[in-house]
Amino acid sequence: MKNNKLFKYLSTTPVIIYSISLILIPLLYILFLSFLTNDAYGGVEYKFTLSNYLTVFDYTYLKILFKSSLIALITTLICIIISYPFSIFLMDKSEKTRNFLIKMVMIPFLTNSLIRTYGWIVILRKNGVINTFLTSTNIIKNPLSLMYNSFGIIIGMVYTLLPFMILPIYSSVSKIDRSLIEAAKDLGASKWQVFKNIYLPLTISGLFNGSLMVFIPAIGYFFISDILGGGKIMIIGNLIKNQFLTARNWPLGSALSIFLIIITFILIRIYKKIGGNMDDLGGM
């Protein structure tokens, strides 16, 4: 018994040290910075102020927050629309096929997401794969603008974040008792009715879980909006990055980060209230 306890301590200590030194302390430092004053040369003065938080609520910055949320929301909806049919389709397949297809969803994770995002340039640009195909087969005359706009950003976000939606939805869909669906079908329910009355209520936890995991990163993934949006659309992630690198206003950048963390907390609370399981969020 004693030995067991020792093992417990030994095995959890590294994780605790890791979390404290690399997550907790930097976060506290950011919280501390967000109440300080910024000097003209990009340094930080140790003078308490709340002005950074007031600046966050400036119209310009709120508009950026609104725009990022809209992009993140559209990304989340598209991910949901793709994930449900995919998960339901998987249910009818043999275990071997299922495992294989789920692995195919995971495989892109083995490559750096930045490199994968660059890959999309080759596909989407003016003389890229899609446009060359469409123009050379005379389907369209002028190449389509597939990137360097919000469309490009959303494609990149959906592509990068889709697995985070598929996995929780698939895991809750696969827990549904097959006989329920068979019974519904026997009683003459249409496909839509089966979805609305069986799938949706029984997978709501997975749906919210996936939505959180997609929505939150989508607000902040500045590299996708830089690469596929051509730097024309600023999302909240770009704004924070700019405060640390270009504008040299670390306190404002910190206040924006804290604001983003608060939004995340609120979303998680809503998730919990609706009946979401916290273990599902951390247990990915």
Binding site: S145, G230, G231, M234, N249
Partner: protein, 333 residues
């Protein structure tokens, strides 16, 4: 199988171990991306038996963030631009240069010395001069482009690439309206904002890493880019024209400076002296065709150089006004 793997690992470890002990010293350099060819750096390592740890950054602000957030003595030699040199002197980040230690200092063209940001070159020596220029692909644009204002033409919808740099782009807008590139008057900035909102309809992308790619792949026909990027784009497509706009353009001088608290100062001096040699300056500008400050290299004639410098302007520190400019940039996006 396991044994073989272990053996392989041991050999690898030994090999890397050997490599490290070969050098008698190191020097830690932080420089702009795409500025010094790898072969030049390897040449220095071979000749002096000193290992060069070479890191890169893509904006002055990133450099400042890297220096101020790292431990003292992490970096030895850095290459800040004009206004950043001034700021680094004020913030006590760089130290005085001992010119006695640089025998090749005589190669520097004197017209590049004694700049307003460091009047006696106590802290910095010029390395390269960059300018922004307009680039026009004559294959598709028949009009003569000489001014930023012409870029507003609705014909050029989605056909322009601009540098992802708030000071440069807002500065260009200010110049198009007849103001100074460093103007911080709120009304003038507001006018620049309106100009850029109009211009944005024609902009395909903001990119600082490799705007030439947009021109080479014919994604766009117009661009506001650094001169070396323009020259490299032209070398891929002869019909690309380089234009110094009559409204003015930005100049940016990058300088050798030594970080305060440097632990490998002597090696840093050796590297500066090595980079000042004529043959190395030639190697650098043949790969990255900026304007060399070496008087024996001269990739631009004296008159040409005088004209370029006369009509361009350096970006200056605007102090606290940077917040207003940053907010303007956020509004434009």
């Amino acid at each position: 199988m396991k044994k073989k793997l272990l053996l392989l690992l041991t050999i690898l470890l030994l090999l890397t171990g050997c490599k490290n002990t070969k050098y008698k010293g190191t020097v830690n350099v932080l420089n702009w991306t795409s500025y010094i060819p790898d072969s030049v750096i390897r040449g220095f390592e071979k000749e002096y038996n000193i290992k060069v740890n070479y890191g890169t950054y893509s904006s002055n602000e990133e450099l400042l963030a890297k220096i101020t957030s790292s431990k003292k003595g992490t970096y030895d030699l850095i290459f800040p631009s004009d206004y950043m040199v001034e700021l680094m002197i004020k913030r006590n980040i760089i130290e005085k240069i001992d010119k006695e230690k640089l025998s090749n200092i005589k190669n520097i063209n004197e017209s590049f010395l004694k700049q307003p940001f460091d009047k006696n070159n106590d802290y910095s020596l010029p390395f390269l001069l960059a300018t922004t220029t307009l680039v026009v692909n004559k294959d598709n644009i028949k009009e003569d482009i000489t001014s930023y204002k012409q870029l507003l033409n609705p014909k050029y919808k989605n056909n322009i690439v601009l540098l992802e740099d708030q000071r440069i782009v807002i500065g260009a807008a200010l110049q198009a309206l007849g103001y100074s590139i460093n103007d911080t008057d709120s009304n003038h900035l507001e006018e620049a904002y309106n100009f850029l909102i109009d211009l944005k309809k024609n902009v395909k992308a903001f990119d600082s890493d490799s705007p030439k790619t947009f021109l080479i792949t014919k994604e766009v026909d117009l661009g506001l880019v650094w001169n070396a990027e323009a020259i490299l784009a032209k070398s891929e497509n002869k019909n690309i024209e380089i234009v110094y706009p009559k409204d003015g353009y930005a100049l940016s001088m990058d300088n050798y400076t030594i970080v305060k608290g440097s632990k490998n100062k002597e090696n840093a001096y050796l590297l500066i002296d090595y980079l000042l040699r004529d043959e190395n300056c030639i190697k650098i500008i043949s790969e990255y065709p900026y304007i060399s400050t070496n008087k024996n290299v001269g990739n631009y004639s004296t008159e040409e150089l005088e004209r370029i410098i006369k009509n361009g302007s350096y970006i200056e520190n605007v102090g606290d006004k940077i917040k207003e400019i940053d907010k303007l940039w956020a509004r434009i996006k």
